[in-house]
Symmetry: C2
Subunit: 107 residues, 2 copies
């Protein structure tokens, strides 16, 4: 019984992970942030084909999921910087493995 | 210029990976197949909350992406078995890392 519950929990965890990294651009944004904090405009430039509305939406979702923090500086115009949280940084081994797999098998 | 192209390719690869593992149940199915080939009915039992229609759909998609192979045996009633391809098996390190991350941070 306990064993069955553990199995179910394992598989449910995998599905919840998709809420966090399954957005079309989430992994690309996380990947861009591995090299350090970035301004909104930098992310926009670094990620090909993303549009402003999508980037805003994904970053909001990632902030809500505790993957990135958003810091606003009172400059004129205001500067907004995004940084990975510890939770976000710890995705590095997973995303690196997926990336290696992608380079070997995709495209 | 070459450097920029490499960067773009890296991020595009991450997006294509989602076509393969980003389905709501794909990772759970792959996870279940790491322990060896499974019959359709076994997968249905192993993956909580999935319905028959969804399982059929995800498996078809995974077959099209070269992640699983489908083998039909001429028994009565016919037996259908699913196995990971090499491409699918090589997702093990990535999914294990995601799983570890999920157990630490999700839920």
């Amino acid at each position: 019984m306990d064993k069955k519950n553990n199995k179910n929990e394992s598989r449910c965890a995998l599905q919840e992970i998709l809420d966090v990294i399954g957005g079309k651009w989430s992994m690309s944004i996380i990947y861009a942030l591995f090299t350090g904090k970035k301004r909104f405009s930098e992310l926009e430039r670094l990620i090909p084909n993303i549009n402003t509305r999508m980037l805003v939406k994904e970053l909001k979702n990632m902030e809500a999921n505790g993957i990135v923090t958003r810091q606003v500086f009172a400059t004129v115009p205001p500067t907004v910087e995004y940084t990975l949280t510890t939770k976000g940084e710890k995705l590095q081994p997973s995303i690196n493995e997926l990336h290696k797999w992608g380079l070997e098998f995709v495209g």
